[in-house]
């Protein structure tokens, strides 16, 4: 939690960075923000927010000690899902978010906005890129947490704690994205 608080200050620097440069380069901002695909980014944001909901459903199962659906239960019976199924779903949603971000970057680079092209490019890619790296790190953590559930016969308290801590991180990264989305796409 203390580490997450320090992460908050790291992103604070990126937010401050954005607004400072924006204040100095109003003309550039008007030109560059035209290029943003807001509906696409909104859809991508919803994917990430929904992934947090799946993650929390996984946490509820982890706290009950239900690691996966009982043997023989069909995958389509969502009510019987354990923590593992929900975390796999969270992973997919997170991966879609990252794929969407890569797609968006590809379009912006095509239009000539790169990390080195102008101040807007620098702050845009640094802020969203660092967030993207955090999401990628979260995805790796999910893989490790899911992988760990296969190693023990009994679902232990230590396993559940790991799952819960990962969910805290995931929710944090999600909330940071909502703030970034408001800053970059709504306020522009």
């Amino acid at each position: 939690m203390v580490w997450l608080a320090s992460e908050l200050m790291f992103f604070a620097a990126l937010f401050a960075f954005y607004f400072t440069i924006r204040g100095h380069e109003a003309d550039l901002w008007a030109e560059r923000t035209e290029m943003l695909n807001v509906p696409f980014a909104l859809a991508n944001t919803i994917v990430l927010v929904v992934s947090s909901v799946w993650c929390q459903l996984g946490v509820l199962q982890a706290e009950k000690g239900i690691v996966s659906r009982p043997a023989g239960s069909s995958l389509t019976r969502v009510a019987a899902w354990g923590m593992r199924e929900w975390y796999v779903l969270t992973y997919f949603f997170g991966a879609v978010f990252i794929a969407g971000q890569v797609y968006e970057y590809a379009h912006l680079v095509e239009e000539g906005v790169t990390l080195a092209s102008d101040p807007y490019g620098s702050v845009f890619y640094l802020a969203t890129g660092f967030h993207g790296l955090h999401v990628t790190g979260g995805l790796v953590a999910f893989l490790l947490i899911i992988g760990r559930t296969f190693t023990t016969r009994r679902y232990t308290h230590a396993q559940a704690t790991g799952a819960v801590v990962t969910s805290y991180y995931w929710h944090f990264v999600d909330v940071v994205w909502i703030a970034l989305f408001i800053m970059i796409y709504v306020l522009q």
Partner: protein, 137 residues
């Protein structure tokens, strides 16, 4: 835990108050509104509130925390604090692999990729150290 919670709230309230004051002051002079400090202070306040909120959540879950009891004794807080690894070589490997990766950022992506080949087994090895084999929990 209550005392720690209050420290977090205090940090939050103080930083929010200073953010409002700072924003008003910088906004009223001719140079204009200063973003860096205002955002830093607001998120600094959230930092305090976030820790307080977490401690509050944890306190609600636990039955009773002897540190909140003015008549509590030191020995009441004994028990398991968590799992502490007696020793592990994996952090050394992971640290070395991370160093190669970061050197790669400066030198070239080829070195980063070589570093990643060391980092992945180190990360997996560390994570699974106490989940497989003779040390399994």
């Amino acid at each position: 835990m209550r005392a720690m919670e209050r420290i977090g709230i205090l940090i939050g309230v103080f930083a929010f108050a200073v953010a409002a004051l700072y924003g008003a002051w910088t906004g009223s002079n001719e140079v204009g509104f200063e973003w860096v400090g205002v955002i830093g202070l607001i998120l600094g306040g959230l930092l305090g509130f976030m820790i307080a909120w977490y401690l509050w959540m944890t306190r609600r879950r636990l039955e009773r925390d002897p540190s909140d009891d003015p008549l509590g004794d030191i020995d009441e807080i004994q028990g398991d604090y968590g799992f502490f690894s007696p020793h592990s070589w994996w952090p050394l490997f992971l640290g070395a692999a991370a160093a190669i990766c970061f050197l790669g950022l400066a030198v070239g992506w080829w070195l980063f990729i070589i570093g990643a080949f060391f980092a992945v087994p180190a990360l997996v090895g560390w994570t699974f150290e106490y989940w497989k084999g003779e040390h399994a929990l």
